[in-house]
Every structure is written in structure tokens, then in C-alpha cells.
Symmetry: C2
Subunit: 572 residues, 2 copies
């Protein structure tokens, strides 16, 4: 059997090497238009930052062999042709027309089975100046090497990153933190990581980036990139400001490279992703596709989705190999698990955000838990935030977003939910989830269990909340609620400066005194219950409910959230 | 409604406080024979070590309020009677006979609903000398305070910990690491953490403890504890040695305190645990029980089990409260999630070990993955080991054990599987598990996905392995296999000292040279394939399979496992 694999970054090599192990007699040829292959593209920001010294590390095995064409030949038994572009697929004759990138010489590769792993390309915004010298996308290792060389030569003092997604933020950290470059992120959407994390979490992240020197402007797109007389980038123009810079990183998402498949008459989506079934077969049963060039199924919504992630590419490559060898393996779909480091914090997600869930037609609500990530007496404990998105009527878990100190703590909660999303898990599966417990790692009731408990209280109608956005607007003075009053349940010493500043709308009765002092509370008002995490507020809400108070709302996540957003109305 | 709760450590307070929030009109009384209540018993080793300065921290809220009877009254609205022992339950009259521990004065507490949360007591071995001065169990905060006081006064130079379970190991670390006490662990069973982790992982842990100064003797029980003339402990005698010491910590497991329930005629198990249904109701529907005193269902075997863990106690307490309030919440069962810190490593487990699974009648096998916990180019990456236990015929996941560098990385993998065990997950659920990925946290193919892939290869008959124990016995010379030969696939520089020492049975052909040099291999021998992690060995096994070699076995986990066991035959 002759197998040809087009594309040698992630899905392609995985499919080729596993096919080799399953089909010892097959002839397997892997081609790529580039000379640098089989690299961890997700490592590029760490290469640019200098954490990774040599680009070879990004394309080495764990046992320090560089994955070049010799390696694939000698160690893996796979023929690789680099600098070889696939020009067209002749499905009738079952051959791929290829071209040598240097010489232009053409050739034909016959196949019995073909695998398309052509990946994605970064979006280039339709604005003037994207072709200026100093404007980069993160499209290949070569680009990354060029970026790093420029920086290392001291040619970059200021950088603008267009796009506040994961790659943009990682690149901004690399530029600002390791090289001291004055770096600004601009994001067209009103928040960082749009559609991935809730607005308040994005704000916490933004504040953290700003505290570490990165400037961030959201709700602000790039209108133009301007250069100097020599065609070198000089500034980025947004509707609100001009940002001088010597380098622009365009990290505005990617789109599938599906042209080759489309031209061969294979079915592709409206945005150009190759359509495949769960065995990663295209509309031609002899042609498979995997990685950033394909469309997948979202396991929660059941709808088609685009999820260009290195981890999925590897899994899909394995599924392709299995099916080439007659093993009936399926790629069931994606839930969209995600994590990233941003300076000293980790932020992650799996499944749907509240916004996306509602857009998809779910009657979704979010439970916000703020709790120490490990026992409060363990020295390095830190606050962790979990945002659990659930469907109100079915109690189904739709998604989880998490924010905490850098380390694997957020990962431990995201991973715990990732596998359950495709299993129809409901709230009680999270409340009772048997997470491993010892004081240096967690709490007897883990922050994730707490999120489940809060979701239960919320959906059952026991917990009543104000949204962080509504509360902020009221404090900001943007919205007027003359009938609202804040009841601060913290220790009176903590509450005092707030009472002093906001006396007309800020009452203080410590948590353990409310049972004896509830008569002091104004029954005609809507009382917003405030503490550090939301837990004491909920307890007092239940007590005041029983005392006949009718208008009560808990600030979810409490001042622990607000403290990390640092709004103008924050009191030190 | 009158609710009485007996026992105020974990399950009791949780049940009482949530019942208060759900049933504002109920009269709730919580009693305990101790004066120190509502503490995190799992924190005791961290208190003894000095990480936790003051025992009050173990019984404080995250907002630094001590959970004493005033706190429960003022903040929680729950009446607490400390130093009050429940002597008997009169089920006909529905009242609890109580006694003041100091005065001996008797009283009666009428109830409509009763909750028994009497916890567990530590096993005291039936050997001479357990009543000597200096012999301790970890049975209460008072004992912990006494242990710490003795140490702080410099009265302890040598300690023996009887029991190599989690508490024994945590206590040994506290004594050795923080106080420099010469500490020895003895464990009757042949390994540390028996029934929880596989033998090789226990050996890795043992080597790590030994490298940190703790002596460990397994397969060796305490026969006698001897004292000096003044009744102070002087040494522990085992069949093999005498261990001088000034302190003995007996950490040989716990058993349920079910006597009160039993005497009241409630159904208890043969070992004294209170029988409850999934609503935590005893055989008397007006009496609930929760925490270390009850028997639970194992969610994997479907059999009754005893699982005394603080995290479960809290969840069960919540279930009790819900059912008291008429909410139909269930406690479905346990999978046995576990994690612990031991010096610089974390070790965890969920579900069944291979040994337990086989004992329970499963046709179980284990897949061993050894892989970097994060991208190999991230500076603080370290080797992580996953041991996935699966049922061969059904491919069902039965359990996972993990070992890695201290941090939350092991937790992130254990938690990912914990919730899936009760959902009937199979191997492909682990291979394709969508764990969150970014280079600082994981790999595109996570070590847990790799464990799933290895399990698939193993169960499908593609991967053939030798057990670590068989291989060790051969290298040790304990077992003679004249037809075996080791093929070292590492770089020839790495293999050279091994070839020099074991030339007759140790061949070296680097991984990337086997395809061209396989003719050098002896076809009449059984070839054990060796590399650092097992991955290269599997690839070469598949190649040699195709070349017609018939007797091939991969050393699972490779020398990365052996290196951490440091057997006598290890070559530097």
C-alpha cells in the first residue's frame, strides 16, 4: 500500500509514524513545502522569549534527536520530502502533483491512501500596511526565528500585538517580560480571550498583564499600520489612538488551508475547512484529513466547529493511522479544552462560556467560586476562581473556566471536567466529584466541588446573585439604583474605609453579628451582600430569606474578584 | 424540627450548617466529646512539622475565624455542646442520652432526626508496649499537640512510624525533614502504600524517602515496643532488627466508631461501620450517619467498602443535610481518589490498583507511561509516571496511579480520570481525553493520553511487555533466563557502561540504527527492549515484529523507572 501524507508539522507526522507501526509493509511518504518540519508550533512564544534557546529544541524528541528527514527515515522508517509543495490532487488517477520549491521541478506521487494535513494560515487583517517591514504573523518557525533575530539585535523598542487571544498574550509576555520591549495588545472584541472566558475573568487577566507592564486596549481594532519612508513599520492606528512601534505581531486567529482539498473537489465548509467524518475521512473515502485544516464536531453542541489545536491534531493523526490500518477508531469531537500561562497566573477553560452557551440556545447560568486552591494553612496557597456554566433546566454541565496562580492547579480542575462534558455530566457530578485531596494540593471541599454546590444553589433558586457587571456599573455610577444598598459582611476593620467612602450606600455588619443585628437592616432596600468570596454572603442571604427579607443579592466571588480587576472605585 | 448531630469534626458540622441554611426553623444541636472541634485532621502532619504554627489554624475558616462553639452559635446559628459524650440512643423515645465529660452529669436530647458522625479511631496493634509513654496514635488534635510539644522540647531524637500508608509517610516527613529526627518507617506489607499504588511506584517512593534520610523497612511488622525502667519507649522490635527510638507513631489505619449505632440496634457491618443507603440513612429512617463511621459503596466494584477520608465526610454531610430538608440528594459511592506529598514528589491514585482489580475478579492489565510532565523545552519539566489499570476484555478503565515532581501535575491527571471511573469510561476515552494543553503545562499528547495509547496497544496485543519485577529479578540474578538478552536502544554513549558491566546479556544498538542493523540481533533469544521511557522500545518492537522476530518484550517505563528505584544492579 502506498500512503502519501501532505504536511509534516503535527497531524501529518503522527499519522505517518503510527501508520508505519501498524502497517509494516506500506510505503509511506510525508511531504512538506517547508524545510523545518515536525515542530511544536505552540512553543514559538517560548522560543521568542528565550526560554527555548535554540529552535531545534522545538523540533527535537524528548531524547534530544532532531526530527528532520534523516530522523524520519532512519528511526521511523518514513520517507520525507521537504521543500516539496503539493500542487494538485488527481483523484481519478490517485496521484499527487508536487513541485520542488527551489527548482520548480514537478513530479507525481501515486497513492492508494492520501492524508491531507495542510494546517492553517494566520489571518491577515484587511487594513493598509500589513506588508510593511516589521509586521509579522506567527505562521512558521522561520517567522519566529526572524522575530527573535530582530529583537536580539536590539532593533525593537516597541511592539503592538494585534489580537488578545492566547497566542497574542503569550507573545506579549515574551516581548515584555524577557526582552523589556514596550508592548501593547489591541483586541477588537470588548475583552481578552473573547468567547473563551467570562468578561470578569478577562478583566482580571488584563489587570494582571497591565501590572506586568503590558498595555491592553480592548474593543479597539487596528485601522491601519503606518510605516516610515523606508517601508518599516512605525505605528498602529486605532479609532482611539496611535501606537508607535517597530514591530507588529498579527495574532488575529487562523483559518484552515483547505484550498488543495477544495480544488480536488472534496467537500469543504463555507470557511474552507475540510469536511471529515469521525474516522477523519473526507468526502473521498481514500483521502483522510487531520489537524488545523479540518472541521470537527463540537461534542457539547453537536454542531460543526473549527478547533485548530496542536493536541487535537496529534489525536486526529492517530485516528487517521488507525483507520488506514483497518482499526475502527473514531475522533468523537471536541470540547475545546484550553489553558495558558500569563506571567504569574494560569487561565484555562473547557466547554462553553456563558456567552457562547446562550448564543447556542442553552438556558445557561454561571456559578462563580472563589476559594483557596489548597488548605488555607499551606504556605503557598492562593485564591482560585472557577466559573461553572450549566444549563438551568437540565442541570447539564456546559463548561468551566478557571483562573489561578501559575502552576498546574487550574489544569487540575479543567482536566477534571474536560472528560465529563461528553458524558452528559450534571451538576451533582461536579458537587460530588471525587477529586484527590491532601492539604498541600486542595481542600476537603475543592474549589471545583464548591462551584458545583453553588450551581446547585443557584439553579434551585436558593442563591440569588447580582452580576459582577451590574454591580460594577452601580458602583461606577453608570447605573442608578437608588433602592440598592451594599451590606459588607467582612470584619468591621476591613469594611471601615468603604463605609467612609461610600457611606450612603455601604453598610457594615460583620458576618457573625447579622443574626443579632438584622433589625438594623433597611427592609425597603435591595440589599447586595458582600464578603471576600461570596460564601458568607450566601449564608447570610439564607438567614435573611428566613427573616422575611425579600430583596437580597449576593455578589458572586465577592471582593476577591473585584480586587483583581481594580476598578476606579476600589478602596485600598 | 429538632435535629441532633453527634460528632463535630467534619461530616457533623457540614450536615448541621447546611441543614441550618435549608431549614431556618429547625433546632439544631451539635455535640462532641472533645473541646476542640471542626478541624482539618488531614492537616495534623503539617502542624507537627511546623508548617502550621498554631493548632487554631487547623480549625479556622479561610477568613481567620476560629470554629469554636461561639462561632457556630453566632455565625452559623447552630448550638454546640462540647465535652459532651453521647452515651446511648433511645430510638423509641427518640432521644440521645448524653453525659458531661467533666462532671459526669447526664442529660437527654430529644430529636426528630438524628445524625451520627462519630468518626473513626486509629488501630492499636495487639503487641506489647503500646501503652508506653511516647507511643502515639494520630487520633485527635490533642495528641498532635502533645507530639509537637515533645519534639519542640528536644525530647525526641529517634522516631519509629509503624505503618507505611499516607499518614505514616506524611508524619515521617514532618519528623525527619523539619525537625531532623532520625525516623524509620516499618510496614508489615511488602511495599509502602499497599493496595494503592503498584509495587514499582512504591519502590520509587521508598527510594525517594531514603534519599531524604527516612529509613524504610517493608515486609516487616512491629512485634513489640520496649520501654526503659520509667515506662518510656526505648525501641521497636521487628523480626529482623531492633530500632531504638524515643517516640513511636502508630499509623496502622483506622476503624469506624460504630458502637453507639450498634448498641442502638442499627445495622452495622462485620467490622463495625454503620450501614447506610445512598441518602446516608441508617436502618432507622430517622437516623442518618456520615463520615468515617459509615460503610459506602465502591463505584467501580459495586461492593461495600470503607473509605475514611475527610473529603468524603464533607460530601456525605452535605447529602445528609439535603435529605433532612427533603432534597433527594444521593451519595453515589466512592472511587478512592488519593494524593500525597512526600518531600519533592507527589503520588496519587484513583480507582483500583492492578493487585486489587485482579483480586476483585477483573482480567486487569496495567499500562505504564513515562513522559515529561510538560513540553521538554520548558525549563522546570520533569518526568511523570502514569499507571493505567484497565480490564482487558471490556477495555474499561479501572484505575490510575501517578507519580511525579511535587506540584499539582499529578493531581491534574488523577482528577481527570476520577470522574470518568463512575461513567464506565473505556480506553479510548483516555487516549482521546481532551486535556488542556500549552507547553508550560503539558504536552500535545499528554502523559495520560500516552497511558491510554499504551493500554490500547497492550490490550490489542500489539505491545508485548516484561514486568518490571521479572526484569529486575533477572538482572538481580534471582531468576535465570539464559535465553534472554537486553537490547539497549539508547545512544551508544549511554549504553556503553551497561555493555561493559553486563556484556554477556546487554547489547547496544541505537534506536535509529536498528532498521539497518537488525541482522546483528540473535533470533534465537528473547529480546528485552530497553530505552529510557519505553516509547522507542515499542517502535522497535513493532519493526522487529515485522522482521519476523518472535520473542520480544518491552521494558515498560524504561530505565526512567529503574533509575528511581536504584537497584543494586543499576549502572551509573
Amino acid at each position: 500500500m502506498k500512503i502519501v501524507v501532505i504536511g509534516a508539522v503535527a497531524a501529518g507526522p503522527k499519522a505517518a509514524c503510527r501508520a508505519r507501526r501498524l502497517l509494516p509493509d506500506a510505503e509511506i511518504t510525508l511531504i512538506d513545502q517547508d524545510d523545518l518540519i515536525s515542530y511544536g508550533g505552540c512553543g514559538i512564544p517560548y522560543f521568542v522569549s528565550g526560554d527555548v534557546q535554540d529552535e531545534k529544541e522545538l523540533r527535537s524528541t524528548s531524547f534530544h534527536m532532531v526530527r528532520d528527514s534523516h530522523f524520519f527515515k532512519d528511526a521511523k522508517g518514513v520517507d520525507v520530502r521537504i521543500l516539496t509543495r503539493a500542487v494538485a490532487i488527481d483523484r481519478k488517477e490517485k496521484k499527487v502533483l508536487v513541485e520542488d520549491v527551489r527548482s520548480g521541478q514537478k513530479d507525481e506521487l501515486p497513492y492508494d491512501k492520501l492524508v491531507i494535513a495542510t494546517g492553517s494560515r494566520p489571518n491577515v487583517l484587511p487594513i493598509p500596511g500589513t506588508d510593511l517591514d516589521g509586521v509579522f504573523t506567527i505562521s512558521s518557525l522561520h517567522k519566529a526565528i526572524e522575530i527573535k533575530e530582530r529583537i536580539a539585535k536590539g532593533q525593537v523598542e516597541g511592539a503592538v500585538v494585534i489580537g488578545g487571544g492566547a497566542i497574542g498574550i503569550e507573545m506579549a509576555e515574551a516581548l515584555q517580560d524577557l526582552w523589556g520591549i514596550d508592548t501593547t495588545i489591541i483586541e477588537f472584541m470588548p475583552q481578552l480571550l473573547p468567547n473563551i472566558v467570562p468578561p470578569y475573568m478577562a478583566r482580571m487577566l488584563q489587570t494582571h498583564l497591565e501590572e506586568n507592564g503590558v498595555k491592553v486596549f480592548t474593543g479597539e481594532g487596528a485601522q491601519e499600520i503606518q510605516g516610515d519612508g523606508d517601508g518599516r513599520v512605525k505605528k498602529v492606528i486605532t479609532p482611539k489612538r496611535e501606537l508607535p512601534c517597530d514591530m507588529v505581531i498579527m495574532a488575529a486567529g487562523v483559518r484552515p488551508r483547505g484550498e488543495l482539498a477544495k480544488e480536488a473537489g472534496l467537500k469543504v465548509s463555507h470557511y474552507g475547512a475540510i469536511c471529515v467524518n469521525q474516522r477523519m475521512q473526507t468526502s473521498d473515502p481514500d483521502i483522510y484529513a487531520a489537524g488545523d485544516c479540518v472541521e470537527v464536531l463540537n461534542a457539547i453542541t453537536g454542531k460543526k466547529a473549527y478547533a485548530p489545536l496542536g493536541s487535537l491534531a496529534n489525536r486526529q493523526g492517530r485516528v487517521v493511522a488507525d483507520n488506514l490500518a483497518g482499526l475502527p477508531t473514531k475522533f468523537e469531537g471536541v470540547v475545546g479544552s484550553f489553558i495558558m500561562k500569563a506571567f504569574d497566573v494560569a487561565i484555562g477553560a473547557t466547554g462553553l462560556s456563558l456567552e457562547v452557551a446562550r448564543r447556542e440556545g442553552f438556558d445557561a447560568v454561571e456559578a462563580i467560586a472563589a476559594q483557596a486552591d489548597r488548605a488555607h494553612f499551606i504556605p503557598n496557597q492562593a485564591m482560585m476562581f472557577m466559573n461553572l456554566v450549566v444549563d438551568r433546566s437540565t442541570r447539564r454541565i456546559l463548561g468551566l473556566q478557571g483562573y489561578g496562580k501559575m502552576g498546574d492547579g487550574v489544569l487540575a480542575r479543567i482536566n477534571a471536567v474536560a472528560g465529563l462534558l461528553g458524558k452528559g455530566a450534571i451538576i451533582s457530578d461536579i458537587s460530588n466529584l471525587e477529586l484527590a485531596y491532601a492539604p498541600p494540593f486542595s481542600n476537603a471541599v475543592d474549589v471545583l466541588n464548591t462551584a458545583g454546590n453553588i450551581a446547585d444553589n443557584l439553579v434551585s433558586g436558593r442563591l440569588k446573585t447580582v452580576t459582577i457587571e451590574e454591580f460594577s456599573a452601580w458602583m461606577e455610577g453608570e447605573e442608578d439604583h437608588p433602592d440598592w444598598i451594599a451590606l459588607d459582611l467582612r470584619h468591621s476593620k476591613e469594611a471601615a474605609p468603604w463605609v467612609e467612602k461610600y457611606g450612603d450606600k455601604w453598610l457594615s455588619i460583620p458576618y457573625d453579628e447579622v443574626r443579632s443585628r438584622h433589625n438594623e437592616l433597611p427592609r425597603e432596600k435591595c440589599i447586595i451582600l458582600i464578603c471576600n468570596a461570596g460564601t458568607r454572603s450566601y449564608e447570610i442571604q439564607r438567614f435573611l430569606d428566613a427573616m422575611g427579607f425579600e430583596r437580597l443579592m449576593v455578589l458572586p466571588g465577592g471582593l476577591n474578584v473585584i480586587r483583581r480587576i481594580r476598578p476606579t472605585w476600589w478602596v485600598e
